[in-house]
């Protein structure tokens, strides 16, 4: 029996929402950015040749034993603290037993009833409204290897002729962050993952790249009938779990699809199966995976190869004190100190220049100028080069110096772009580029006046229009002057000079 109804038969999302309240919980796996794996010394670098970053421990060879990576514990505690969790003073690892070829030992070292961090929260803001998402737990575990199914059309195991396993990923430290079923909309689900990603990025404990799988999200969705006024809330419905959502957009789309799908089934009087589902990005639909009702009994028990983790209070306190500024606090500060809007901050963050802008302001630029140059000119150049703004060979201090020169009238925007060219080409600091390329604004009125007169003489028809009051027609004349001056003039000054000459100012 297939549970994937044709999309056309689904009720509209708005229609579904009118009758049902979605109840959403999220489980997020984050690969920690440690140098070595969770239980051995193998490197964790992404993209290496398959099975080159393995040893007896992470291959699960007979006799090998795990040893906890203390950096991973430190990172996990930092995440727990940033999420306002209680940090366990004593906890244990547990074995989760199930057979799968990409799991070397056929059990995963995880945590079960004694997680490292419990009972926290994360606030997410959408259009000025704050939604508090409860964090049930943050626990540590090891990643599995990666199966590659060969010979089928889809890369899925169905239809494949054989499978290959890359164990480089096996044993990479993970944290799993589980929310309460507090989320009530796909937008909040997306915003939660977005905010969580920012938080973890700010902590510097993971590169949180969803497309590389270093942050993966599973969404648990159920529906319950909206109560009539005065009625108590209905109990939670049966949930589905959509696995491995690998972009923010997918989180939102998959949850939205599940809401419509489940509403359709409930409308038809069918029950929701408790099952895991996969999201097909191209089709925008989820389809069933294995049913949880017939799933394995994981036979959890405390990992006997590891001693309990007993973190001294002082250790946790030191990490707490040492936490960097978190995204919410930073946003509040930047709005207050720099006059940015929430929208500005979103734009800067999405362009990957927020840190750079802040450093540029710290180096002497005004917030507006720093924002303008990074968001427009430099982000574009990075995009053209297929790299990140932070990879550009120009420092925030260089950018700050350029903005100061522009503000002082010593550079025009056009000249500033040439200075940037020079810095990016490795010709030195902005001042060295200006000197080397002779890019300073020409302040010699004689040369400028001559150029203005020549421009007016060359285009008498335009000059006539301007004299007649059509001030905006002056543009081509400004361009001609700038061209004659090889850009080494200030466009605003040139415009003023032209209008003055034409008696239109």
């Amino acid at each position: 029996m297939s549970t994937a109804a044709p999309a056309s038969a689904l009720p509209s999302y708005a229609d579904a929402l009118a009758r049902y309240e979605p109840v959403i919980g999220l489980e997020t796996h984050v690969e920690l950015g440690t140098v070595s794996k969770m239980f051995c010394g193998c490197p964790t670098a992404f993209g290496a040749e398959p099975n080159t970053q393995v040893c007896p421990v992470c291959l699960g060879l007979p006799g090998a034993l795990p040893v906890v990576n203390s950096a991973a514990v430190c990172f996990a505690v930092m995440i727990g603290l940033a999420l306002h969790c209680d940090i366990a003073s004593w906890c244990r690892f547990a074995r989760k037993n199930y057979f799968y070829p990409d799991m070397p030992k056929n059990f995963q070292i995880s945590q079960y009833d004694e997680p490292l961090c419990t009972d926290g929260w994360l606030d997410v803001e959408i259009d000025g409204e704050v939604h508090r998402v409860g964090i049930t737990r943050v626990h540590m575990e090891e990643d599995t290897g990666k199966s590659l199914h060969v010979g089928g059309a889809t890369g899925r195991i169905h239809g494949a002729t054989h499978s290959l396993v890359d164990y480089n990923r096996a044993g990479i430290p993970l944290v799993e962050i589980v929310t309460e079923p507090d989320v009530r909309s796909p937008e909040v689900a997306r915003a939660y993952v977005d905010e969580l990603r920012e938080l973890i990025r700010a902590l510097g404990v993971s590169d949180v790249r969803m497309e590389q799988g270093s942050l993966r999200c599973d969404a648990n969705v159920s529906l319950r009938r909206r109560p009539a006024p005065g009625e108590p809330d209905a109990p939670f419905g049966t949930r589905s779990e959509t696995k491995n959502l690998n972009s923010l957009r997918s989180v939102e789309r998959a949850v939205r699809y599940e809401i419509s799908r489940q509403a359709g089934r409930l409308d038809d009087g069918e029950r929701i199966r408790q099952e895991t589902r996969h999201f097909d990005e191209a089709a925008g639909r989820t389809s069933p995976g294995r049913s949880k009702e017939e799933a394995t009994d994981y036979r959890y028990f405390p990992e006997p190869d590891l001693t309990p983790l007993a973190l001294p209070v002082q250790y946790v306190d030191e990490l707490r004190v040492g936490l960097p500024e978190l995204p919410a606090a930073r946003r509040a500060r930047l709005i207050a100190e720099h006059g940015y809007t929430v929208r500005d901050l979103t734009d800067l963050r999405n362009a990957g220049v927020l840190d750079l802008v802040e450093q540029t302001v710290a180096a002497g630029a005004t917030p507006a100028a720093a924002r303008k140059w990074w968001l427009n000119e430099l982000a574009r150049r990075a995009a053209d080069a297929g790299s990140q703004p932070s990879d550009l060979a120009i420092s925030p201090a260089d950018v700050a110096r350029i903005t100061v020169l522009v503000a002082g009238g010593e550079l025009t925007d056009a000249l500033a772009r040439k200075v940037i060219d020079g810095v990016l080409a490795g010709e030195g600091t902005p001042d060295e580029v200006i000197a080397g390329r002779g890019l300073a604004v020409v302040a010699d009125d004689g040369a400028l006046t001559a150029a203005v007169d020549a421009a007016i003489a060359t285009a008498p028809d335009i000059a006539e229009k301007v004299r007649g009051g059509k001030v905006n027609a002056v543009g081509p004349l400004v361009g001609a002057v700038m061209k004659a001056m090889k850009g080494q003039a200030d466009a605003a000054s040139v415009r003023g000079l032209l209008l003055e000459r034409l008696g239109a100012s």
Partner: protein
């Protein structure tokens, strides 16, 4: 699988016999004094293996080439004036549950046939560092599950005292090799008595060190919270030398404890137990204990009194529950530990016909590769850990384990060591208990409590019952392993003096 060398033509049979009968300490002393070369000692052991192992079947793999190369290296470095350790050049038999580069590791199982570990167990790297000569790998019950070595996929080992009888298990190959003079030393592992029970029924000294005292890295796990490697030897002093060589903290094993190694060698030589308080465990006697075993034990305890120890009776009421608790905890851990034998990365692979899926290949391989006792315990442990049964079985067993630890702690407030028979009976005939697992499990009645509580324990030859050796077990608090050697050294000396020779001198010629 067995790879026996032929006897060397250059060494006379008489000389070989003399050399192989030397203790490890005497062998090392002779090598140090230049009276014997390590190559001669090693060749003598290899010749002895070639001569008797067809009968005993202790060895699964003999690495003659590797052993002689290691021995030559010892001789060369000694000749060059290098100062070597107290076991340099002494041959040793390694239980086939520890990984060693250059040798197969089978764990007595078909499922690992032909597998060569790419790394050395920490015990093995310490032995190599101590210049001990590794003769090869010795037989065991499959994955250390059993008390007779009859559960080996490669056939049983025979007791050198009576080759129709079992050598004990699971370290039966280790015990038989030492008792048959194929090696002066062996490494065994002990999860519920697997060093002490074979030592007892083969007339040897065997020690389970404190849990956490010897690294488990490279010891293929049966039950992680119970497994511990330790020495088998013909004398207390030899056992102490081997214990000292392998013990100590290992950063690769999180359960290994970073404390100083107890001074076992010094304790073995002290030979003075006047005023030492010895507790006889009331619960480890009575029904099911062979009268001869009981008599030999009582005589040994009287000897302790004669040596000046204060002997009292002590009750450890929860020891009665040790066996059932053990048979929940050990199988539970084993059901998880043995999950990795799945044909995917190493070892046997059955049914990979290009059609079968991974799950089917795993099933077929495990069906074909594991023996009945291993399957029995995997099934038992899987059941005990199942959702809905965990609390009643695994959870309850862990509580019993705590109560047993408390019994020990309370007893050790009154006495310095506890004693009991090592086994309820002497070695039984091959095949006698293969169809009755519970009868087989009862072999470990006296030894299991120390595994559950983690403390160290030694089996020492107590005497003979109808020509078969039986042992006295000495138990001490965790990290007081030196007390075992103190009591063992004194008692061994007294018992040898009483009979006028070492017990093994009475073993029949092979």
């Amino acid at each position: 699988m067995t790879d026996h060398p032929t006897p060397s033509a250059t060494t006379s049979a008489a000389a070989t016999t003399d050399v192989v009968q030397l203790t490890a300490a005497a062998t090392a002393a002779a090598i140090a004094a230049g009276e014997l070369s390590a190559v001669e000692a090693t060749q003598a052991a290899l010749d002895r293996i070639a001569k008797v192992d067809h009968t005993i079947h202790a060895f699964l793999h003999v690495d003659a080439e590797g052993a002689l190369a290691a021995a030559r290296s010892v001789d060369e470095r000694r000749a060059a004036g290098e100062r070597l350790g107290p076991l340099a050049g002494v041959p040793l038999a390694l239980k086939d549950v520890l990984t060693a580069r250059g040798m197969p590791t089978t764990c007595g199982s078909r499922i690992l046939e032909g597998w060569h570990a790419p790394y050395d167990a920490t015990v093995v790297s310490r032995l190599r560092a101590a210049d001990v000569v590794l003769l090869g790998k010795v037989n065991m019950d499959e994955f250390a599950m059993g008390s007779s070595t009859e559960n080996s996929a490669y056939g049983p080992t025979r007791n050198p005292w009576d080759t129709t009888r079992i050598p004990g298990g699971s370290s039966g190959g280790s015990a038989a090799a030492v008792a048959a003079f194929e090696a002066p030393l062996a490494i065994g592992t002990d999860t519920g008595g697997s060093i002490r029970q074979p030592a007892a029924v083969c007339g040897l000294v065997g020690v389970k060190p404190t849990y956490g005292g010897v690294s488990r890295y490279g010891l293929v796990a049966f039950s992680s919270s119970l497994d511990q490697a330790g020495p088998l030897a013909r004398t207390v002093a030899d056992a102490a030398l081997l214990h000292a060589a392998i013990a100590g903290h290992d950063p690769l094993d999180s359960t290994s404890v970073d404390v100083p190694v107890p001074a076992v060698v010094e304790a073995a030589g002290r030979r003075d137990i006047r005023g030492l308080r010895v507790g006889v465990v009331r619960e480890l006697a009575g029904d099911g204990y062979d009268p001869g075993v009981q008599a030999a034990f009582t005589a040994a305890v009287e000897t302790l009194t004669a040596l000046g120890a204060e002997v009292v009776e002590v009750s450890c009421p929860h020891f009665t529950y040790a066996l059932p608790a053990y048979y929940l905890i050990a199988p539970s851990e084993c059901s998880s530990n043995l999950a990795r034998f799945d044909a995917m990365r190493f070892g046997l692979r059955i049914g990979d016909d290009g059609q079968a899926g991974a799950e089917e290949v795993m099933s077929r391989t495990r069906e074909a590769g594991f023996g009945p006792e291993v399957k029995r315990r995997i099934i038992l442990g899987t059941y005990a850990l199942s959702s809905g049964y965990y609390d009643a079985y695994y959870g309850q067993a862990q509580k019993v384990r705590t109560l047993i630890s408390r019994d020990f702690a309370a007893a050790f407030e009154r006495v310095d060591v506890l004693v009991s028979p090592t086994t309820p009976t002497p070695a039984f005939p091959l095949g006698a208990k293969v169809d009755d697992p519970v009868a087989m499990y009862l072999s470990d009645l006296c030894t299991i409590p120390s595994n559950l509580a983690g403390g160290p324990a030694m089996s020492l030859p107590a005497g003979l019952v109808d020509g078969l050796p039986v042992g006295i077990q000495i138990m001490a608090p965790p990290f007081a392993d030196d007390r075992l050697y103190l009591v063992g050294g004194a008692l061994e000396e007294a018992l040898d003096a009483q009979r006028g020779h070492a017990l093994l001198d009475e073993a029949p010629a092979l």
